[in-house]
């Protein structure tokens, strides 16, 4: 049944694009119903089998000559991310209710992107996964280039070229794995149980990991993220930060680490103090955390603040992955979910609630407007969202970052310290942005009139905030899915008997 998340999104995309007439309302409603159906299916699937063990959905030969299968399946980790996609998709439609330009095209591309993202999370055949991964690139370009703002064409091109370059690396590693295993199979299960030679894993792992990590915003390949997020229309930046960056992180875990776990082993020699790819990528992740937060601290454009904060938070995901222990990895997956919701919410406040009303994102100008009084709902949402973002207890971000830090404390203690420093800087930039946007000193005496909050905005904000709080207070809801996933047979080579 989960497969219908994919099919429904594609059908919805076709329906929105090809229905005759120019009615924007029909397009919006179709998009909302489609995404709601996707979310509903995801919830039912989780409720139906909350064990987190692998569920096979479809398995049929696709290209028998090459042993490529059409294999959709889900384990706990996929389910978590499918659930996230459902949430982000619904919220994205709600927050783009006010789009007037080429509405049908917008929602068509939007649903197409959603369908491709579902596809990546549910594919258990490497080839299929890659096909969906690439399918997600094209709609991103058009969403940003057509409906975007600041330097949209540049940002869109930069984003897709980075994505495409990353996927070229992935393709190289994927083809190599296919050929070297010699099994005439691209099935993730078959490849995960095949022991590639350590020498092969040593070069295949960084290739594929970096390929995916480009999309996860790993420093120094993160530069597409802030420009892309800032230029994208609200719904697209919500999806980009909320879901698409997770595609990268998911690929790192599901493909690079699951198939080539020996690539993380020590090299046996040291270069510049590094002894293994694990250390290299952990350091890059920590640099990303601190660097993203520090740059966010000095931005003038509110959307760039949120964009760089995404880089910083995705650093936690990568750091969690590199800890290689159970709690760190679980924290990384939890952070994928948590950041997906919170980043979506932040972009919604910045792009939809504030920018669409004030037509500026400049912190200086915003501080001269009495926004907290004009749109109190936005102010409250923003405060709560930033509280969640800096990891205050009670929100999902707290659980995630705490687990990542504990995990990294076990793996490399000094990096936990630097990661903690990143959180402190995070508090600083959040404070600064918050103050400038909503609690500045209004100078304009003339009474400004802004359109009131609409119902879709309120619904979207409540949906995302509610999930963050529920999952912050009751993390077992997702942990019960993530842990069986990590302890499943697929990650056996990564665990090596037991977790480190």
């Amino acid at each position: 049944m989960l497969a219908w998340t994919i099919y429904l999104s594609f059908i919805g995309a076709a329906a929105v694009t090809f229905t005759p007439g120019k009615s924007a309302a029909v397009a919006r409603l179709t998009a909302l119903l489609t995404t709601l159906a996707g979310l509903f299916i995801a919830i039912v699937a989780v409720a139906h089998d909350p064990s987190g063990h692998q569920i096979n959905i479809v398995k049929a030969p696709w290209m028998p000559r090459l042993g490529i299968e059409y294999h959709l399946a889900a384990d706990g980790i996929s389910l978590v991310l499918v659930f996230l996609t459902g949430l982000a998709a619904v919220a994205g439609v709600l927050f783009s209710w006010n789009i007037e330009k080429r509405v049908k095209d917008f929602f068509g591309l939007y649903l197409f992107l959603i369908g491709a993202v579902y596809g990546v999370f549910l594919s258990f055949d490497l080839f299929l996964l890659f096909v969906f991964y690439e399918l997600a690139i094209i709609p991103k370009y058009f969403l940003i280039a057509i409906w975007g703002s600041t330097r949209r064409e540049y940002a869109a091109m930069k984003l897709v070229l980075y994505s495409f370059a990353g996927s070229a690396l992935v393709l190289a590693g994927m083809v190599a794995a296919y050929v070297v295993s010699g099994q005439r199979s691209m099935s993730l299960e078959a490849l995960a149980h095949f022991s590639f030679s350590p020498h092969f894993q040593m070069w295949a792992f960084p290739l594929v990991f970096v390929g995916f990590a480009v999309l996860a915003g790993m420093w120094p390949f993160h530069t597409w993220a802030p420009t892309g997020h800032a230029a994208a229309p609200t719904a697209a930046s919500m999806l980009l930060a909320g879901v698409v960056m997770k595609l990268g992180a998911y690929g790192c875990l599901r493909v690079a680490m699951m198939l080539f776990p020996r690539g993380l082993d020590p090299w046996g020699f040291r270069v510049l103090g590094f002894g293994s790819w694990q250390q290299v990528f952990a350091v890059l992740a920590v640099i990303g955390i601190v660097y993203g937060a520090s740059v966010a601290l000095v931005q003038k454009d509110l959307k760039f603040v949120v964009g760089y904060s995404s880089v910083s938070h995705m650093g936690f995901v990568l750091l969690g992955l590199m800890t290689l222990n159970q709690i760190g990895l679980a924290g990384a997956v939890y952070q994928m979910f948590s950041h997906g919701i919170i980043a979506g919410l932040l972009f919604a406040v910045v792009g939809r609630m504030v920018y669409d009303r004030t037509h500026t994102r400049d912190l200086g100008e915003l501080s001269r407007m009495p926004l907290a009084r004009l749109i109190p709902f936005a102010a409250v949402t923003f405060v709560l969202a930033f509280m969640a973002s800096i990891g205050l207890p009670g929100f999902s971000g707290f659980v995630a970052e705490l687990e990542v830090l504990i995990g990294s404390w076990r793996a490399f203690p000094w990096m936990a310290w630097i990661g903690g420093l990143g959180i402190l800087i995070g508090i600083a930039f959040s404070w600064r942005a918050l103050q400038a946007t909503f609690f500045g000193e209004p100078t304009t005496t003339a009474e400004q009139v802004v359109p009131p909050m609409t119902l879709p905005e309120r619904l979207g904000a409540c949906l995302l905030l509610g999930s963050s709080i529920v999952l912050g207070l009751y993390p077992r809801l997702l942990m019960n899915l993530i842990l069986p996933g990590l302890n499943g047979p697929l990650f056996e080579q990564l665990r090596r008997g037991d977790w480190r």
Binding site: M63, P64, R65, L66, F130, V131, E134, L135, I137, I138, Y141, F142, A145, I146, E153, M157, V160, L161, F164, A165, A168, L169, L171, A172, V175, A176, Y178, V179, V180, F200, W203
Partner: protein
């Protein structure tokens, strides 16, 4: 079926004879019955007759014996040649459907007849394993293409392009012939099989080395691989659109097929090895150098182009580089991947030129002319999207699978990592190619149309041809086994 009598020859060349006779028939039809009718009717009549002829030839291919040879390889019929011939005929029909809306010349019969003659030459080129026949059919093909390129008598660039093509082509033919004469001198035979035996006997012969360089150069001109590509941008840009389509699509299929057959059957003994760590001298490293040069130069120069046709020309040079990788590997699997690649590439190219043909009246040349195409002709620009993304190698379109399969066969060979450098370079260059294809799509989908630009009406036949090509590109991409199974079965 083997033999040497004329009856056997007639039997084996039935499809070619049908196509050639159709060419003559079209000529007569146009000069006699259609002479006094309007240009539209003449084009419609000639195209109808020509496409029916091609369809009949397709039927004749089905009836041919699955194996056959005439005069020890002078003419060879096997499932693979039949498959490629069928592909050439399908491409010819698609191109003829596009020609239906052409109005640039009054010499309708001659134009269609020349297209059919060129197709005949390609069909013969793929079904021979004899040096002399290869040379003659290449010349036959080239002569038709020179005339087709310069066919627009009222356009000065067209004539110039025709002359450029002729000069380069003539020179390359000389070089190729010189190389072939050396091969004949070494082996004392014109048959590729005999050449192979002689090459196996003395792979290090200096005379052979010269012959190899000559042959590679000669073929390099034909397939427009760098550094022998100089004629391509001009021909693509200035030839009548439909002639350029033929040059860019089906003639590529035939040339690449003949090239692979030539090296695979005739010169296998002197292949050498281009893999890192296993290097040995021969033509494989030479081809690898040309492949690298083509990929680099084609893709990088394409970035700077403002004319869409020139962009396609440089991208064709880049694609020639990818296809040459298959030749560097020269394994059975890589042969399958090459045939798949070149056929799907030709389909996408016919499509891209078809879009240009549909825009003929708009005088579209520069990329900026595509501005707002999605509003003015939504169907047309969707087709353009499919074709360009396929050329860029986005799954699930055919272009992606072609690249995937070429790379898979490259890594399958040579202890898995010997040719990794070539694959990584190709992947890097495909990122570059994605950039310039996307630049065109950006104009079509993102930019607003020029004020006052109306809706574009696409002629029905053009629309049919484009949708068929687009459907094939999607279908072969989603289910590549449809074609792969046939190629692989034919190869056994």
């Amino acid at each position: 079926m083997n033999g040497s009598g004329y009856f056997a020859l007639l039997r084996l060349t039935e499809p070619e004879i049908i196509v050639a006779l159709t060419g003559l028939l079209v000529l007569i039809l146009d000069l006699s019955f259609l002479r006094r009718t309007s240009l539209a009717v003449r084009f419609r009549g000639a195209v109808a007759a020509a496409s029916i002829g091609c369809a009949v030839a397709l039927g004749a291919i089905e009836r041919l014996p699955a194996q056959g040879s005439w005069m020890a390889g002078m003419l060879v019929v096997n499932p693979l040649t039949l498959l490629v011939q069928a592909a050439l005929l399908v491409l010819a029909i698609l191109i003829l459907l596009l020609v239906d809306s052409a109005r640039f010349t009054r010499h309708v019969g001659e134009y269609c007849a020349l297209m059919l003659f060129a197709t005949t030459a390609m069909m013969l080129l793929v079904s021979t394993q004899n040096l002399l026949m290869i040379f003659i059919t290449i010349e036959f093909l080239s002569l038709s293409l020179y005339i087709l390129t310069g066919f627009d008598k009222e356009s000065r660039p067209s004539a110039e392009a025709g002359l450029t093509y002729f000069l380069f082509g003539g020179m390359s033919a000389g070089i190729l012939l010189f190389g072939m004469s050396l091969l004949y001198g070494i082996s004392g035979s014109l048959s590729l099989g005999e050449v192979a035996t002689a090459v196996n006997r003395s792979p290090g012969d200096p005379l052979l080395t010269i012959a190899l360089v000559m042959v590679v150069t000669g073929f390099g001109f034909k397939i427009a691989a760098a550094p022998f590509h100089m004629w391509a941008p001009e021909v693509y840009q200035s030839a009548p659109t439909w002639s350029a389509t033929l040059v860019a699509s089906s003639s590529k299929v035939a040339s690449f097929f003949a090239l692979f057959i030539f090296f695979y059957l005739g010169l296998m003994g002197a292949a050498g090895n281009a893999a890192r760590g296993n290097y040995s001298i021969g033509w494989a490293p030479l081809i690898a150098i040309i492949a690298v040069a083509s990929m680099l130069w084609g893709n990088l120069a394409a970035i700077a182009q403002t004319s869409f046709r020139r962009l396609l020309a440089y991208s064709a040079i880049g694609h020639a580089g990818y296809m040459l990788i298959a030749l560097v590997i020269h394994s059975r699997q890589s042969f399958v991947s090459l045939v798949y690649y070149v056929i799907t590439y030709a389909l996408a190219t016919v499509g891209a030129f078809g879009v240009l043909a549909a825009l003929e009246e708009e005088r579209v040349d520069s990329i900026a002319d595509f501005r707002g195409l999605s509003k003015r002709a939504p169907g047309l620009s969707f087709c353009l999207l499919i074709f360009l993304l396929s050329l860029a190698g986005i799954p699930p379109l055919a272009g992606f699978f072609g690249k995937f399969y070429v790379f898979a066969s490259a890594l399958d060979r040579a202890n898995h990592s010997g040719l990794l450098w070539l694959v990584l370079l190709a992947l890097g260059m495909s990122v570059v190619s994605f950039y310039y294809y996307l630049k065109v799509l950006k104009q079509a989908y993102v930019s607003e149309p020029v004020a006052g630009a109306g809706v574009i009406r696409v002629p029905a036949t053009t629309r049919i041809a484009l949708w068929i090509a687009a459907a094939l590109v999607v279908l072969l991409g989603c289910l590549p086994d449809l074609l792969l199974d046939r190629i692989a079965a034919a190869l056994h």
